[in-house]
Symmetry: D2
Subunit: 344 residues, 4 copies
């Protein structure tokens, strides 16, 4: 971190800056410029924030040199994290496909979907038992019953299961069923929840908040990592912009960007990212071409009857068509789509 | 709600739409247009969402006619909600001022601040004991000790206290100390938490999410109201935009807008809204002129030593100057600033 | 400007940076930090951009210390620019009110509007003869005939007139009629047009682009100022965000912000800023309380018949009511609303 | 278009709505619902805007059923427009690559770049002679001299040339040199300029404004098309969001979206879209996988010496590497990259 003093800063302003830096155990390096004195902060700057120094008298600008995340950074770990679960690897050379309904609605529909996506080549089954809904009057999910249905589908199909956990108090319950804990976009900065999944032994799929910068997203991952849980995968799901034809704006540039900043695997959710099933196949291909390690796709046997997110759900035949076109794209960049059920 | 069918919709498409609507206990009203058949949905449309119908075969557009919130709406309750606490009224003709530090840092500093803002005319003391921080390495608040210090400040000064609750599991603890429970911007869509404060007997100050629409904000209030807690006040605190000179973009048009849509009182936080203490006085005056029922202002005796949000905190003399200029603005629109400590 | 070199930068990287800086006639000041070498750029840094240096081998970060605008800055001119026209002062202690229809539609309607806003207390008449319309099928304005009607209204009422110029080729024509040339939001970065009005002797009202940062806005003003035209006023008219209940998000914090950065007067357009006539009065009062030097308000005798922007236009009685409430707000911050027609 | 009347609308409100619709030569179709009367507008609704009806007394909501663009729509022309120039086809099955520097800086550098991108496989040379620069103190381009240099490069390499036109008055001059006229993002709603290029016989590459919706972008294309120029290609170049690690957020979902709404070819500019040359290759591949008909890529032999946009420019070897990886991606979706110089 570098502090640029104002031209008219006085001696005791400079002393105040130095005192504040040294007060948290860091060192300073002074440099008298022609117009401005510059104070370099030496040491582990995670213990001081630019704002802490910006507010001091005589300070013109504070410039952060290092990223504020550490455990999530490529500097900390050069090699990409590979999360291996039951023979499936997320973050390896093969692209993982996670598919299923927005919400678990009933046993029959879920099993039908699970069989369909397994047959089409998915490795992981998605489905929500606890649903964060904008309206208190909307379907809120089946709760534990939904988790039991997911577990039954895993039993039958061999698919891994990923499902959302909404509340710190539910982490233990959900961990009893799920292979991967999903933190939803609305909870990306729910630090109590991040703290709790940081203490869990389940891998975490951390969605980007719809209003979150890449830096804030990596800081949220840092919460989980610093809690001791190193199996974090990041999921880009679209950010909010002014554009109205799509539900969100899918930020695919976040894929190569995050992969350059961090060693964590990156998954893309083109369903929430666009909100329109007609755009999902093209954006799935684009996500793979951009370097995504996985996809999270909404599939429902009858989207027109889905209790949530019907407009962005592929049918099972639609998902089959997507899967057929996906492997050639993966191979064009020297990757592949993972084998169905990871059993191969 | 109105469903516009495609020109080429077939008879069984129309039947599917009717079936879906009637399936949730609503009625339909059909109208054959020159080009499009239109299906009107008759009844309490909170039980069906536009997306549920949009996805049906043959549907061109679904148009919502009513707002999705009910208990929060002016249609439901014409008169503005007035929240009366210990002689203080929020939502009445006088403007309530809530002031204090971002975080409770230590007993002496908090008491000094409380005395200062009480003397300058505030009615409510703000201060965080549980802090949602972007970095896991930043100060996370004093927890219950912070609440005890807040309670001591109330004891001494007579100020009401408002403080943030981060987790459903903490609602009971925080309610044991706080007069008003604050839901922070990052938790506006933390539905587990909204559910819990909805069951509490404490008034709730619900901050707008930094990328939440006014409609989503009112739907979040609807969660609390539908839980049985009718004492909700809304707090505009700036939304996230591309502008970089300010921390957020304070959306003051939300004040008259929300007051036309809803009966709930609206408070404005110019400190987070701008992130710059130099802009707080002008934006406080503007908020009052726009019709805000209250202000939430960060004040710290020594912003340069604050553990968080120093750059946006007023000093005590700065706050005194703000308060002096505020009452004339309130009077220019036939309101006033509430009497200090509400004891008058 | 300060260049922070990477830890692993080599000697010839540093030499390359120095060469580039000296190549545009600037000097360098070197400082060896513990981890990074820092290169200070000494001289008029408008001649080099951070990007020019950022791309050089071995460079980690480039930090701009000075604002990129000069003539528009408070450092260049401490005193607020006051633009005096026919006895009206924009930027003085009185708040100027500019009012009128979006577009000049016909002679009778414009004259009726002009008389109405003059009687209610306006000083300037707005009205567009050349209209930038999203659709090529919408009314594009009356062109020169519209300007003639505006001039006739000035003749009769004594109001000054402000009207938009869309194209460099029209500046001369429009200057023949207008007292103030308006540059619309869509043209804020139309540099050919800015260049042309910079050479004009007419004052310029420069609207903020709906996607423009405050810095870009001041840089657009810099274009006009550097062309030799010093009579520029800035107009905040709302920026584009995700919020859908309003047409734009009126950024009132831009008022005190710009007034701290620049000596130019700031006008607020609450009509485009909100897109809703019901929000215009509250936002007009808020703009004045925030420190605006003027308002630009859409008024139409029959908004329901307006060829454009009806939903955001006040009726003449609506404008009269606004004006009545405005002066007390101005007086509450020790200003006033200017006398009608500036003749007082 | 459908007008939903308020429950409490009176008879003369309804008559007013009907009168307004019939007044522009359209017909109405009335439908009495249980709660609301609905007025359907029958005929070519481009002649009336929702706002025109929204403002009428008694109107609750106006709903547009049709897109406001016509000539640009897939309904108007089902087949994708193919723009054939000198043997190159833009919008056909092969992906066109346009590459070159941001600005033409000098003859030698441009020729070197042209030879480099031609050898690597490009079909079109990009390069700006008239530059829209944020600062009046930055390099503004070589003007006509730059056009002459571009023409010389075409002569030597056989590449087509695309270059930006900034002002209506320059369209004739630029058309004398350019094969394709580029309308930059800042000028997407410069209607005088759109009008002028609409009357030109040169194909137009229309960049999306950085904060323009897809609908506004297609309406801008409609201006050019309705002027009689049918050879329009659209160029996505990133939109402005809150994310700061990238210069813009490249909205690749716009590619399949626009291609479903419109018959016009879509080009992607990953250089401006990200602002970072390290992200350009991945985003180029993603753009092709998403279905883009072309790419517009900034290439400079020595980005560190570029007068503009160095940080987002590929070197010539960098561009060669990109081109090598691109064809396999195109083939994975049954397309190909066009043959160098279109001569094959």
């Amino acid at each position: 971190m570098i502090v640029v003093m104002r031209k008219d800063a006085e001696k005791n302003d400079l002393e105040g800056v130095i005192e504040r830096i040294e007060g948290v155990g860091l060192d300073v390096h002074l440099s008298e410029g022609v117009e401005h004195t510059i104070v370099g902060v030496v040491g582990d700057v995670r213990h001081i924030r630019p704002e802490d120094l910006q507010v001091l008298p005589g300070v013109l600008r504070v410039v952060r040199i290092m990223h504020p995340f550490k455990l999530a950074s490529r500097e900390f770990q050069g090699e990409t994290t590979e999360i291996v679960l039951n023979g499936c690897s997320i973050g390896g050379s093969a692209v993982t496909v996670m598919a299923g309904p927005c919400a678990v609605e009933d046993r029959e529909t879920l099993l039908e979907t699970a069989r369909g996506v397994r047959a089409a080549g998915a490795q992981v089954l998605r489905g929500g038992a606890f649903k964060p809904r904008t309206s208190p009057y909307s379907f809120q999910g089946l709760g534990e019953e939904g988790l039991q249905i997911m577990a039954e589908a895993r039993e039958e199909t061999g698919l891994l299961i990923v499902t959302e956990v909404l509340s710190p108090g539910d982490v233990e319950l959900v961990s009893g069923y799920a292979d991967i804990l999903q933190i939803g976009a609305r909870n990306m900065q729910n630090y109590s929840l991040l703290h709790e999944v940081g203490a869990s032994d389940r891998p975490v799929l951390l969605k980007r908040g719809m209003m979150s910068s890449v830096e804030e997203w990596l800081m949220a991952a840092e919460y989980v990592l610093s809690g001791g849980n190193h199996r974090v995968m990041l999921c880009e799901r679209g950010i909010r912009t002014f554009e109205g034809y799509t539900r969100n704006t899918l930020d695919l540039s976040a894929v190569p960007l995050v992969k350059s900043l961090s060693h964590l695997p990156v998954v893309v959710d083109p369903s929430h990212g666009t909100g329109r099933s007609d755009l999902v196949p093209a954006m799935s291909r684009a996500a793979v071409a951009a370097g995504a390690d996985g996809l999270l796709v909404e599939v429902h046997p009858r989207p027109e009857k889905a209790l949530s997110d019907g407009p962005q759900s592929l049918t099972i035949p639609g998902f089959e068509a997507l899967m057929e076109g996906l492997d050639p794209v993966a191979r064009s960049i020297d990757r592949s789509v993972a084998v169905a059920g990871c059993t191969g």
